[in-house]
Amino acid sequence: MSKILREKPHIPIYALLFLLTALPLLQPLGLPISVSSTTKSFFEIIDEIEEGDIVFFDINFGPGSWPENGPQAVAVIKHIWAKGGKILFFSLNTNGPQMYDKMMSQIQPPDGYEYGVDWVYLGFLSGGETAQAALTTDTWSLVQSDYLGKSLESLPLMQEVRSAEDAKLLICNTSGALAWAWVRQWHEPYNKPYLLLPIGIMVPSSAVYVDAGQIAALLPGSRGAAEYEILSNRPGEAVTLTDTLTIQQAFIMILIIIGNIMFLLERQGKSSKNTRRAI
């Protein structure tokens, strides 16, 4: 075993990782989830939404990051709708339309909610930061129809939306760098709350914008989504995945400890050999 760990450690590591990932999914353990202050801040901002408030929602990710971005979006949209908010969805990522379909297949709109009146999806908008600027300055100048090809004139919600001035806040659900561009195109010119739903790896680079107040709050990856589901009393996909996440992280910590013990023992062995030779 020790020889395998030294020479081909990836074989047992990958096998164990597979087992530790699969087992909690098959048999959930119900490990505790603590809610962080970051998630609480995010929740409180959404909780302040009043009936009829309009939220701009950027679906800016692809299927690869669904396990992180998907549950975040589902939890937050459910909360916005429960508060009576309306949502203008759009995507600055080409994968956005497919992610929107997947999201909507997991969310049951509240009774009385209707497409076109309470939410609209504009589809993929090309142009990156330029599209952000155009969308916020004059939404109708950028698009003339929604994702389904319906003209904006025929959609009641769009009669209330002409620019960022008509929105309460912006949410960017992303796995990419356009998140920082929203600071320039949303927070700076309009001084309205900008909330971020990033993948875990984006959290350290986003933290500086949160500290500066340019991002009002963020929900860190699938862990944040799980915490949000707990806070809003709507357990979903993220809570199910949390057991796996906890066990994987514990496994990585154990590997770090074992790796370092082996390293120290090897170094000690080498130095005592050298001492013996010297004697």
């Binding site: 603590s34 690869g64 680079s205 933290a207």
Partner: protein, 212 residues
């Protein structure tokens, strides 16, 4: 004459529009706002064309690879086949069609998730093989990384309430400080680049016209 057409005129056009966009962002002048909005529409259209241009370029590049029988040229055939398939099904039946959705979920979706998931294997293997206290610097990195990892674990606060606080401090103080350096450095770089473009010093974007 060619110098004027290839370099001077494109530089003047670029500098002119860049100047307008910068002024429009910082000054609340209605005329500039109208011009800026028009320019934004142009830019969005150009980017949309660029996506098509990307498709043409990738086709050209892979056709060349196939004709030259470059290494793994048969993968280029596969790529072109899938490119054509997605374009035909997407345009022919529409993105809402069952055919396109099936292709997207079962080909692109599955491959994208797999590529992303492979990271878990690399991270786990690297944690065992590379994350070691070889010297003082590596030890500092190891200890702080380990503390962030514990603090990030959903159940950490249930073990000890101090773990999330330590993690938060590491993220908010040393990590944020170093990230700020990168962000401010990149922003200054962007400002410098814009100034070089306005003043005609930066010509790389003109397609190999050289630099002054």
């Amino acid at each position: 004459m060619s110098e004027i057409y290839k370099k001077k005129i494109p530089l003047l056009i670029t500098a002119f529009f860049l100047f307008i966009v910068i002024l429009e962002y910082f000054l609340a002048v209605p005329f500039l706002k109208t011009v800026g909005l028009e320019l934004q529409s142009w830019a969005v259209l150009i980017v949309a064309f660029a996506i098509g241009l990307g498709g043409v370029n990738i086709t050209k590049h892979h056709l060349l690879r196939i004709s030259n029988r470059d290494e793994d040229w048969y993968l280029s055939i596969w790529l072109l086949f899938l490119l054509a398939l997605f374009v035909v099904v997407g345009i022919g039946f529409g993105q809402q069609s069952t055919y396109f959705k099936w292709l997207y979920i079962n080909v692109y979706g599955a491959l994208s998730s797999t590529t992303y998931s492979v990271l878990a294997l690399f991270i786990t293997s690297a944690a065992f093989r590379a994350f070691r206290a070889r010297n003082f610097d590596a030890s500092v990195l190891l200890i702080s990384g380990f503390l962030v990892l514990i603090g990030n674990t959903p159940a950490s606060a249930s073990i000890w309430g101090g773990f999330p606080l330590i993690q938060e401090w590491i993220m908010k103080v040393p990590t944020a400080a170093s990230t700020r350096v990168i962000v401010i450095g990149a922003a200054l770089g962007m400002v410098t680049l814009a100034l070089r473009i306005i003043t005609g010093k930066e010509t790389g974007f003109l397609g190999g016209a050289g630099e002054e």
